[in-house]
């Protein structure tokens, strides 16, 4: 039995905006950009509207994802882990198996198609973990676009393998030295590039954040995850999941899988944020699960930000470079307000333990980002019944995290290997 074909996306009343409230989800979202970008963002919004209204566009997108990226990705039953925990039956949606190794490819290929409709020849993107940059560089190579990736200098250092491949794919990678030198600063640099080069350049924002229409557009492309997953879990588990877990950095993979189940009232949706060192300013990147964030407007949209009383952003921290972001998808905040999505945090230490468990029990290596979702599922599964079903979104694979994981578990053989390599390299 082969996985179901994706042929249509569900009607999503979230995106039926009231007059004058386009791009708003409850009190969140909007579009706060310098005036110079008004025509560019309008052009993008109109183009995306047209794409969305055109059924052939979605079909083209699905076809690209099928032939280039191997969609549909499967849903895997974790029998060993389920038995070991003794509670709910745990299933995993395998975005790690997509081309370039994460769900980021869905968004990027979709925006690539939009970019072609816009007639633009150059793309820029911010990246944190490097997955989005890697995916964008890949898309640009495939679609014949020029490509420049902005990446915080801190992230360049901790995600070097991704930088290496981006460059080899023909992208220029710019290490951003301003601010905290992480994801948010890379976004600022992208906005700076965009206001200069909007004539030929599309900004491929990597997560469901930023000014309208990005939260909607990124969610739209990522919804392919949830649409597939709903059919698959029905087929594999024989019922809808009781809970769906996804990690939340900007919120794109979570929006992606949640959209498959938004209209199923019985399905609890759980967003898992970066708990880092635990609650308290500067030691995590949890906007909703902890109490350290407040409403603000930055980087083009209104949402909860980790900021101080002056509205200046706090330091963030996570073991996972891709979760280490100050803001969060406004749609998720709205759904959280409404009690539709529950938010939890997973600490670095919990992530380390869960990663080890999942590797040894099931032969999966989730990305550190995705492992946050595993942490919460593993914590909650034992108290659930054997007849209950959990679905985890494994947003990416952990290969890219080798340096971080080796550091985290203090792997001596790895360190010795790196020291020896350094000697080869003239250290």
């Amino acid at each position: 039995m082969s996985a179901p074909c994706v042929t249509a996306i569900p009607s999503m009343s979230l995106f039926d905006f009231a007059a004058g409230r386009e791009g708003y989800y409850g009190a969140y979202g909007g579009c706060f950009l310098p005036e110079i970008l008004t025509s560019t963002i309008t052009e993008l919004r109109d183009c995306f509207r047209a794409c969305k209204a055109d059924p052939a566009f979605w079909d083209e997108f699905v076809e690209v994802m099928r032939t280039y990226s191997g969609r549909p990705t499967p849903v895997t039953f974790l029998e060993n882990l389920s038995n070991q925990l003794g509670g709910a039956r745990i299933y995993v949606k395998r975005e790690d198996l997509g081309h370039t190794g994460s769900h980021k490819i869905n968004n990027v290929m979709g925006q690539g198609l939009v970019c072609k409709r816009l007639g633009k020849t150059r793309v820029i993107a911010e990246t944190g973990a490097g997955q989005h940059g890697f995916a964008t560089a890949t898309m640009a190579a495939r679609f014949g676009l020029k490509c420049k990736i902005y990446m915080g200098a801190v992230d360049v250092a901790r995600q070097r393998p991704n930088v290496f491949w981006m460059e080899n794919l023909g992208a220029e990678v710019m290490a951003v030295q301003d601010g905290q030198r992480t994801l948010k600063d890379a976004i600022n640099e992208c906005l700076r590039d965009w206001v200069t080069n909007m004539g030929d350049t599309h900004y491929v924002l990597g997560t469901a954040c930023g000014p309208h229409p990005f939260p909607e557009m990124v969610s739209y492309f990522q919804s392919i995850i949830g649409i597939e997953a709903r059919g698959q879990i029905l087929a594999e588990a024989g019922k809808l999941p009781d809970r769906v877990y996804a990690c939340v950095g900007g919120g794109s993979n979570a929006m992606g899988i949640f959209q498959g189940f938004l209209d199923d009232a019985g399905v609890e949706l759980v967003g898992c944020e970066a708990g880092g060192f635990g609650p308290g300013s500067g030691g995590h990147a949890s906007r909703l699960a902890y109490q350290d964030a407040s409403l603000g407007v930055a980087q083009g949209y209104k949402t909860y930000f980790l900021q101080n009383d002056d509205g200046n952003m706090l330091e963030t921290h996570s073991i996972a470079a891709g979760l280490d972001y100050i803001g969060v998808n406004p749609i998720l905040v709205h759904l959280w307000d409404q009690g539709r999505v529950r938010f939890e945090a997973a600490t670095d230490a919990e992530v380390r333990d869960a990663l080890r468990l999942v590797m040894r029990t099931e032969g999966l290596i989730p990305a550190l980002e995705s492992t946050h979702a595993f942490v919460r599922a593993i914590a909650e599964a034992p108290a659930m019944g054997r007849d209950e079903v959990i679905l985890i979104n494994q947003s990416g694979r952990g290969d890219k995290d080798i340096f971080t994981v080796a550091d985290a578990i203090d792997d001596q053989a790895w360190k010795a290997f790196i020291r020896a390599k350094a000697v080869d390299y003239g250290a």
């Binding site: 950009l33 700076r192 206001v195 407007v297």
Partner: protein
């Protein structure tokens, strides 16, 4: 006096007004004060006091770093207002708050307007607040006699410029080119055309900013615009050699080499 009549009055006996820029607390408030003294010396008409923000995505590298350093040095919004109040009491030019919307949003629009008025500001420039989102803030400003300065840009359609013109108060800040602050702008036919489009969209005085940095630029703008807006170039001079370098910069810019010895 409100901004527009003030500018018109100055413009009556000066062919090109001057607006300059200071990032509050960078390198320090003492340096800012000394810079304002230099600006006063050169008869500057209007100064933007930038309230530092951690995500200054509309600023170029020089201002971005200035914002960041100021925050690292512990500059808070209340310090900026206090500085504005001292400056307003001391200097002849008018002062505008310049900053990002989150600074306003976080303190609350009403509180912001109240404190800005109390500090003796005459208006504000918030480049990431589109007019669609500015309704309430502009109402509060009008009630407090403060002017929201609106930016017009070369990428705007005529219809959009008209819309911006309707919302603008005090003067219009015309952005001379695409991009962020701090890079060179070509003063050419394209700019002339853009100025004409702005004029058709507003009767307010017109300031030209982004990349105005040399005496040639000033000469080009004279007769075409009402205000030359000097940002990065002045800060760059200050970073290069403090007050003397800034004096030299303004003297050169304005063709008043004698001012140096003054």
């Amino acid at each position: 006096m409100a901004l527009e009549p003030y500018l018109r009055a100055r413009r009556a006996h000066k062919d090109l007004l001057l607006m300059t820029h200071v990032v509050c607390g960078y390198p320090s408030f003492e340096d800012n004060w000394r810079a304002l003294e230099v600006m006063a010396e050169f008869d500057v008409d209007l100064v933007e006091l930038q309230f530092p923000f951690s995500e200054p995505s509309a600023d170029g590298p020089l201002f971005a770093r200035a914002n960041q350093r100021a925050i690292e040095r512990g500059v808070h919004t209340r310090d900026c207002f206090a500085f504005m109040a001292r400056a307003a009491a001391r200097f002849p030019f008018k002062l505008l708050m310049m900053g990002y919307y989150n600074t306003v949003f976080k303190m609350g629009e009403a509180a912001f307007i109240e404190q800005l008025a109390a500090a003796g500001g005459t208006g504000f420039i918030v480049p990431d607040l589109p007019v669609e989102e500015a309704g309430e803030l502009h109402r509060l400003a009008a009630a407090a006699d403060l002017d929201p300065v609106i930016l017009m840009t070369p990428t705007n359609t005529d219809a959009r410029l008209a819309r911006l013109g309707q919302a603008a108060r005090g003067f219009v800040y015309a952005v001379a080119r695409k991009g962020v602050t701090g890079t060179k702008t070509a003063m050419d036919e394209g700019l002339v055309g853009f100025i004409e489009r702005c004029r058709r969209a507003t009767d307010l005085p017109l300031g030209i900013g982004f990349g105005v940095s040399s005496r040639d630029d000033i000469d080009f703008l004279r007769g075409r615009a009402d205000i030359a807006i000097i940002g990065t170039a002045a800060l760059s001079a200050w970073e290069h050699g403090g007050a003397p370098a800034m004096q030299e910069f303004f003297a050169e810019l304005l063709g008043r080499t004698q001012a140096r010895g003054a």
